[in-house]
């Protein structure tokens, strides 16, 4: 057993970090989200072949594992990247795990190459769906508890709406007839939850890094504020949240490819830990920053907004806790 990245996996992580460092930062994320600039990252990700990272080779992907996919997602989450990559990866995971042969043949190669991108929509109680960065996508995969379907973008109408997360473009989607994915939807959605959780690990880690840096340098009462336990213990708790979420995501990603029976539990652990950890870490980081962290120009609120929005995408913490409890014969789902 080795619970650590291989050299190849480290290379994936480093390549994404390098790509983001040179191509994407919060200033770009802001202008993309506000509609002032195009998505500066997607073409690069396509050119480098990342779009097919976890798609099977028979459909033109790299055929790497879910672990490698989560490393890409974590790096992109840290950089506050648009949802084009995540949505496309989610669409590919859903079609691969829950689509039939025909659906897979029709869609996966386009997702893998990035030439016909997929986007993810979540059905809402009123029958509409919410989707990030769906403009320019070839297809939308829509999910609700126990259900997934794919629909060509032509058959959707998108209406831009103000999102909490201002580094992505949110649309309200109205769809007509959809093509149901009738395979193992739950297992497919669990994989998407893991990818989403990986993004949240990146967000939380970024917020922690900002807080630690601020605690080291900001002086009050003649000392760096990191000497005060009210600050330093906050930072220690952030590390606990970030590392716990990272462990949970890596494990869940590994089970997706190697121990699918363990995936539902592992995915729930990952989502609960990553969503709650990102909320705690981003809010705590803002508190460490004080007033400056509450300004529009500072990145604290971008990370916090992402934590709120992504934390409420797909299954809620309570839904996942119910699933965990049900495995022990407790609660509403069990009864």
């Amino acid at each position: 057993m080795r619970f650590d990245l291989t050299d190849d996996q480290r290379a994936v992580r480093d390549a994404i970090d390098e790509l983001c460092r040179s191509r994407y930062g919060s200033a770009v994320a802001r202008s993309y989200g506000s509609g002032e600039a195009d998505d500066a990252l997607w073409d690069r990700l396509v050119a480098a072949g990342w779009t097919g990272v976890a798609v099977a080779e028979e459909h033109g992907g790299q055929g790497l594992g879910t672990v490698e996919l989560t490393l890409v997602c974590e790096g992109l989450g840290r950089a506050l990247a648009p949802a084009a990559f995540f949505g496309n990866a989610a669409a590919a995971l859903l079609v691969a795990a829950a689509g039939n042969d025909e659906q897979q043949r029709r869609w996966l190669s386009g997702f893998a190459s990035g030439e016909a991108r997929g986007a993810l929509g979540s059905w809402q109680p009123d029958g509409s769906a919410l989707a990030y960065d769906a403009e320019g996508a070839a297809a939308l995969v829509l999910v609700a508890p126990g259900r997934a379907a794919i629909v060509s973008a032509d058959a959707c109408s998108l209406e831009r709406t103000d999102g909490v997360d201002i580094t992505r473009r949110l649309s309200r989607v109205t769809v007509g007839a959809v093509d149901e994915l009738r395979g193992d939807v739950d297992a497919a959605v669990d994989r998407v939850e893991v990818a989403l959780s990986a993004e949240l690990v990146g967000v939380a880690n970024h917020a922690m890094d900002l807080a630690v840096e601020h605690a080291r340098t900001r002086q009050q009462f003649g000392k760096p504020i990191g000497v005060y336990q009210a600050v330093s213990h906050r930072c220690a708790d952030m590390l606990l949240d970030v590392e716990s979420a990272r462990s949970a995501v890596l494990y869940a990603a590994w089970t997706a490819d190697n121990d699918p029976v363990a995936l539902p539990f592992a995915a729930s652990v990952a989502k609960v830990t990553a969503a709650q950890g990102a909320w705690r870490t981003t809010t705590s980081s803002l508190q460490v920053h004080g007033g400056i962290g509450f300004t529009w120009e500072h990145d604290c609120h971008l990370l916090l907004r992402r934590a709120v929005a992504s934390g409420h995408l797909l299954g809620s913490a309570d839904w996942h806790l119910d699933r965990v409890a049900a495995q022990r014969g407790l609660g509403a789902i069990a009864s």
Binding site: P125, A230, T283, W296, L304, A309, H312
Partner: protein
């Protein structure tokens, strides 16, 4: 112990309630400039009816209301969903400081336009490198043939772009941290003062930065004396908190009623996790309201506000933040979409544990001044 209102208090409340029903200014406009105009008109209406600065002494233009009447007034405004008057900083801080520490000339000059709202006040204490630590202020005032020349920068000032006067805390020399600050009343309408809006995480610009570049203040506009700034400022900050917490708690109870309504609308009525979280917030808010009244009774008995206000400050921030968090969970998947009420509240509440003294500073104050714990040197 008697928690019923006295006949005088009941009469005051009933009269006020009736007056508010008849004179309510209507819904506040969303636009921030229009909202300020709305609040200026509202202050004028209050002033004309004798409801501006009600707890100020009669000789200074108030109605000499008791602190309890002031608290009733604050609660009734909240209950009626009427806005605060525009010049809240002048009414709650500026006026009381001048009444307590100012000269007769200053009282004659400054008090009346505060009450009427003709002159808006703002507060210039915090600086970029002096948030929690007032001793780290760097804004300097230098004596200069009969007046003072001020250079420096202030942040997080409300209403600065519309203010006539700024309560300005500046260094005036010396090393003793309790004797090297002076409290000035600085005219904002002069070339040496530049105001820039400060955009917040919510996207709003409630606050400003002020840049002082050889700004001039007359000798007459010092409150207290040269070097008394620390003492005067501390009093100001105490006035900021006294008697507001019960009304703040009431405002949160109203908000919690709306959140209960949201839970019902969104079909979460039978989700006991949501309803118990709401219940816990109702309970916490009620204890804050009760703590507020107990604190007020202590002030009435002992004369000056004490550090108990720090408890209310911590509770207020904590409860507001938990309301925001619960609202997001009630919205569920729809929490991705900006909700004008709840998303704004969730974001805005994050500053509650920072503004007006961080929750960490409040805990320091409680530990040192209430519990007499030793202080790190």
């Amino acid at each position: 112990m008697d928690l019923s209102l006295t006949p005088d208090e009941v009469a005051f409340r009933d009269e006020l309630r009736e007056w508010l029903a008849a004179n309510h200014p209507g819904v506040e406009p969303a636009d921030s400039d229009a909202a300020l105009e709305h609040r200026l008109r509202w202050q004028r209406t209050l002033f004309d009816a004798g409801y501006s600065g009600i707890s100020w002494p009669r000789e200074h233009g108030g109605r000499g209301a008791t602190l309890m009447e002031q608290a009733i007034f604050n609660e009734e405004l909240v209950r009626a969903k009427a806005p605060s008057p525009a010049n809240i900083i002048g009414l709650v801080m500026g006026g009381p400081v001048i009444i307590n520490h100012g000269s007769d000339d200053q009282r004659a000059r400054f008090l009346a336009p505060i009450l009427s709202g003709e002159e808006i006040w703002c507060q210039g204490f915090s600086e970029p490198n002096a948030g929690s630590d007032l001793a780290a202020l760097t804004t300097q005032a230098v004596r200069d043939n009969g007046g003072w020349t001020v250079n420096g920068q202030k942040v997080w000032t409300s209403f600065a772009h519309r203010a006539k006067w700024c309560m300005l805390l500046a260094k005036t020399g010396g090393d003793d941290r309790h004797r090297n600050l002076t409290f000035f009343i600085c005219d904002m309408n002069q070339p040496g003062v530049e105001v820039r809006p400060l955009r917040q995480a919510t996207g709003d610009s409630e606050f400003n930065e002020i840049f002082f570049n050889d700004a001039v203040v007359a000798d007459d506009n010092i409150v207290g004396g040269v070097g008394d700034g620390w003492k005067v400022a501390i009093t100001t900050l105490m006035f900021e908190r006294a008697g507001l917490s019960a009304a703040s708690a009431l405002a949160m109870q109203l908000r919690l009623d709306e959140l209960a309504e949201l839970i019902r609308e969104r079909g979460g009525r039978d989700d006991v996790t949501l309803s118990r979280r709401l219940g816990a917030l109702v309970v916490a808010t009620e204890t804050m309201r009760l703590n507020g009244y107990r604190g007020l009774s202590r002030v009435i008995e002992h004369g000056v506000p004490g550090p108990e206000g720090s408890l209310a400050k911590i509770q207020w921030a904590d409860i507001n933040q938990r309301i925001g968090e619960l609202a997001m969970d009630v919205l569920g998947g729809e929490a991705l979409v900006t909700d004008p009420v709840w998303t704004h509240l969730m974001l805005r509440a994050r500053a509650n544990s920072i503004e007006g003294g961080t929750s960490e500073i409040q805990r320091n104050i409680i530990a040192e001044r209430v519990l007499n714990l030793p202080r790190m040197r």
